[in-house]
């Protein structure tokens, strides 16, 4: 018993060291990301400006359908599929070149940043894992543990999107900043020494409910960053269309981001993709509550805010399908929805007391 306790304490200690190390690595990743943006600012590309100030043209920016026949000896010329934006005059604005903007040195730093982020992810993942081993349960018993798991998953989502060759390198800098903030909060304000769970948390629904909740949060976060950048980029493009001249800093940064239409689409996809899972999370929570508290729904503050978040995202999805609400208005709804999620995560645990108060802030 004592021996086991000692190993557990050792593991908990290792976990703390790993979390701090990951913070150091993320900090380096932050500097590398900054370097990428700074070096990238040397190149002067004005693609969005060019596209928007010239006469709009239906461009054939098309994926060529080319197929190699029989071992690639004869390359047959195939008909090309021409794509064009389905609606709106700005579907043809090309995506920005990314933070490095073709600058070689910037690109190098960008790659370093990604490698560091991946390294940070591995270390942090190790931290979460050792924490879990030290308490011999899933590491989701209090807010400290939520926070470290949350940022690990958020970085994981980013890396998976990168691995899928999605155009998401622009996420790197905001992501690393938030991860550092999250971990900073976790290790200072929210830290709780490792311990086992109270009996109310002994249920496999805990694993299902909490793991999906954390995952949804991480994905919602990624969507929210996309939405926020969409709003900036959209006003930038609007200004260009109206013949305005945005400031130098704004131009330098926003030119390098994907087009507003791409950002909008990205965040819609991300939000829509996790919405069913979020629905499931709430239902799993209700089932668990039914077993633990006797009623599957009793408007506990945490439940209420999950519901509010859910309805807010449903609002957003409706808005996207409603003519007058597309675009910026829908984006504001998406941000409100994420605000609700954030409040549910931090606000409810800290300011409101309810049955979820096990979280041991």
């Amino acid at each position: 018993m004592n021996l086991a306790a000692a190993t557990n304490e050792n593991l908990a200690h290792i976990s703390n060291v790993l979390i701090y190390s990951s913070m150091a690595v993320y900090l380096l990743a932050f500097f590398a990301n900054m370097a990428e943006w700074i070096f990238g600012s040397r190149s002067k590309t004005g693609r969005a400006a060019a596209a928007l100030t010239q006469q709009p043209q239906a461009k054939a920016a098309a994926p060529a359908v080319q197929v190699k026949k029989n071992g690639g000896t004869a390359v047959l010329e195939r008909p090309q599929v021409v794509t064009r934006a389905a609606s709106g005059s700005r579907g043809d604005v090309p995506d920005g070149p990314g933070a490095a903007a073709g600058d070689e040195q910037g690109d190098l730093y960008g790659r370093i940043a990604i490698s560091l982020t991946a390294l940070g992810f591995l270390i942090e993942f190790g931290g979460v894992l050792t924490r879990a081993l030290s308490v011999q349960r899933a590491p989701w018993g209090n807010m400290y543990e939520f926070s470290i798991t949350f940022s690990t998953v958020a970085v994981g989502v980013y890396l998976v999107l990168l691995a899928m060759k999605k155009n998401v390198r622009w996420l790197g800098l905001p992501l690393v900043i938030t991860v550092l903030l999250d971990l900073g909060l976790a290790t200072t304000v929210l830290y709780t020494a490792s311990d086992q769970l109270v009996p109310a948390l002994h249920s496999y629904w805990l694993y299902i409910h909490v793991s999906t909740a954390i995952f949804c949060g991480a994905v919602f976060y990624v969507g929210a960053v996309g939405t926020l950048l969409y709003l900036f980029k959209d006003s930038y493009e609007n200004k260009l269309v109206k013949g305005g001249k945005p400031g130098r800093f704004a131009t330098s940064v926003l030119e390098r981001l994907p087009a507003s239409a791409s950002l909008d689409k990205f965040s819609y996809r991300v939000n829509a993709a996790v919405f069913p899972l979020w629905t499931f999370t709430i239902i799993a929570g209700a089932i668990w509550a039914g077993d633990a508290w006797g009623r599957y729904w009793e408007w506990d503050p945490k439940e209420t805010w999950s519901f509010i978040t859910w309805v807010a995202y449903a609002c957003y999805l409706h808005a996207r399908a409603t003519a007058g609400w597309k675009g910026r208005k829908a984006a504001y709804l998406a941000l409100i929805a994420f605000g609700c999620w954030l409040f549910n995560y931090y606000g409810v645990n800290i300011f409101v007391s309810g049955k979820h108060s096990y979280a041991g802030v």
Partner: protein, 567 residues
């Protein structure tokens, strides 16, 4: 959106790609008539815009309930709030802020929303059935205006291109047919089906929820080890039920006996004292006289009998006490449950000896004791009666003694765990203070002047409180929830799209093949899919050798994007 460049065939091509209601952005206010107004109102209510607003209001309306104390969950906090807020209290009361989720305005929002939902689903369902019966519309005149487009020239004749296209599309599970000189195909109907299923499932869920609220019953009961409970109204310590609950038939007949309660607690660490195991072994029997079965109830694992759930909700101690009168006769001997005051089971209670007691002179009297119990005493001299740990490590009972009238016959309801001392006289100690004493198990406290004694037997029983709850409609709510998720997945991950292939043979014998795709919403998948189709079709109808570059098909020109593609 301007429609100057769009001809009718294009609008038709995009028509009915979804069943979303039309938005009338400039509502024509009806000139006259109640019916006109009613129709206008109904159209507004079932429009997407109003659905959006109602949804928003619903989430907004849910907020105060999470920040202001609610009477259903915590009446004490509500009373506290009212005491400390002189102006806000009555105002909130009027606005229903202390029971938001059953208030008029909150109900109004969700009832309107669900009326809107039903009003929206019914026409959409008919429309969808119509679409399922119908065929994909024919190709628009200008295919090159659609979001994805490809063209080539081939020596094959138009007929065989159409046949090949039809075959390929059908193999890819498109609904396809030849119409108006082109192949029209559509896929992804499941999206609309999923969307309808989702919205219907929301209604099912609400019905389940409402049934639960109206027919529920919920009560608690404190049971000592060895004692039992039968599920009838008179046995509950407290009880509440939904407004349509029937007390005669609503309670499932069953009974159970608490055999043993077991709690173990963390001994070390920062969470010292928190419960580790917490379980009640019971035997229960279903029906009036069913066979007894064994079961264990834990915090997350209620006992389910006949649709009723029995939850373990609390636990405490009941020291066994014996009271003797002036002549030494036993007048009281039973476990007395103490109610916990903190997480270490510092608890309080009352001992009430109502009949049978006679004082030294043989006169009838009643005895009362205020009791404090700690399972783990801090140690002599450390004075305070605060328990150090929730387990029975060092139990100590502190009693103070009274006699007189317990006030049981006064007709007012009495709390069994509290002593009402208004008509009681204190026993005095030698210094004239209240007579009190701390007892260890086995010790006896002798009342002054031979008035009798009270013994803390070497036995402390445990008790558990159970919550006995029944909420019908849960299955419906769950079925609705599962349906909602399934519908959502279909609705969000399936693309509904149309593909057209048109081949026209010119006088020179060369056939121009045009293909185009249109999705309900923009997607990168559509061009990809079209690309694969083009590739396969191109294999069957390969490009004709280019003789001159004079007759290439008209390249796409600068025209506004296809209208209505997003509708």
């Amino acid at each position: 959106m301007s429609t100057t460049h769009t001809d009718n065939s294009e609008q038709e091509a995009a028509a009915q790609l979804s069943t979303a209601p039309e938005e009338d952005r400039a509502p024509n206010l009806p000139q006259l008539g109640v019916i006109g107004w009613a129709r206008w109102f109904w159209r507004q209510l079932t429009s997407m815009r109003v659905a959006l607003i109602l949804l928003f209001l619903l989430s907004l309306g849910a907020i105060p309930g999470s920040l202001i104390p609610q009477a259903d969950t915590n009446q004490l906090k509500v009373d506290d709030f009212k005491k400390t807020h002189d102006t806000l209290g009555p105002l909130y009361d009027k606005l229903g802020m202390f029971h938001v989720y059953s208030s008029v305005w909150f109900s109004a929002i969700y009832i309107l929303l669900f009326v809107s939902l039903i009003g929206c689903i019914i026409p959409r369902t008919w429309q969808f059935v119509g679409q399922l019966r119908g065929r994909p519309p024919r190709a628009p005149k200008r295919l090159d205006r659609l979001p994805a487009y490809a063209t080539w020239r081939t020596a094959s004749d138009a007929e065989s291109v159409h046949t090949a296209a039809l075959e390929l599309l059908k193999k890819r599970r498109f609904r396809a047919h030849v119409t108006g000189g082109s192949v029209a195909a559509e896929k992804g109907y499941l999206r609309e089906a999923g969307n309808l299923v989702f919205h219907v499932a929301l209604i099912v869920m609400l019905i389940g929820f409402a049934t639960g609220q109206l027919f529920k019953s919920d009560g608690t009961k404190l049971v000592l080890e060895g004692d039992g409970f039968a599920n009838t109204l008179s046995q509950y310590d407290d009880f509440s039920s939904g407004s349509l609950f029937d007390t005669d038939t609503g309670l499932a007949p069953f009974s159970f006996t608490l055999k043993n309660f077991e709690g173990t607690y963390e001994r070390t660490g920062p969470n010292k004292g928190t419960a580790r195991t917490y379980k009640a072994d019971v035997t229960y029997s279903q029906g009036a006289d069913g066979k007894a079965k064994k079961a264990t109830i834990k915090v997350n694992e209620p006992l389910v009998v006949d649709g009723t759930k029995v939850f373990l909700s609390g636990h405490g101690y009941a020291p066994v006490l014996t009271v003797r009168d002036g002549k030494g006769d036993k007048v009281f001997s039973q476990p007395v449950p103490m109610l916990p005051l903190d997480s270490n089971q510092t608890s309080s209670g009352a001992v009430k000896v109502m009949d049978g007691y006679r004082d030294k002179g043989g006169k009838k009297d009643q005895l009362g004791f205020k009791a404090f119990f700690v399972p783990t005493f801090a140690g002599a001299g450390k004075g305070q009666m605060f328990s150090q740990f929730p387990a029975l490590d060092f139990p100590v009972l502190a009693l103070s003694a009274y006699h007189g009238s317990l006030g049981v016959d006064s007709g007012l309801p009495q709390n069994v765990y509290q002593l009402d001392t208004t008509n009681l006289k204190e026993f005095k100690d030698s210094k004239g203070g209240l007579f009190k004493q701390m007892l260890r198990p086995g010790e006896t406290m002798k009342l002054p002047n031979g008035a009798g004694s009270i013994t803390f037997e070497k036995d402390v029983k445990e008790w558990a409180t159970f919550e006995i709850a029944k909420q019908p409609g849960t299955d419906w709510a769950l079925a609705g929830a599962i349906g909602a998720i399934a519908g959502l997945v279909g609705s969000l991950f399936i693309q509904r799209r149309r593909v057209w292939v048109r081949a026209t043979t010119g006088p020179d014998g060369i056939t121009v093949v045009e293909t185009a795709g249109l999705g309900r919403s923009e997607s990168a998948k559509l061009p990809e899919e079209l690309g694969v189709l083009v590739e396969q079709l191109h294999d069957r109808a390969p490009s004709a050798p280019e003789d001159t570059d004079s007759e290439t098909p008209e390249p796409p020109t600068a025209v506004p994007a296809a209208e209505g593609a997003e509708k």
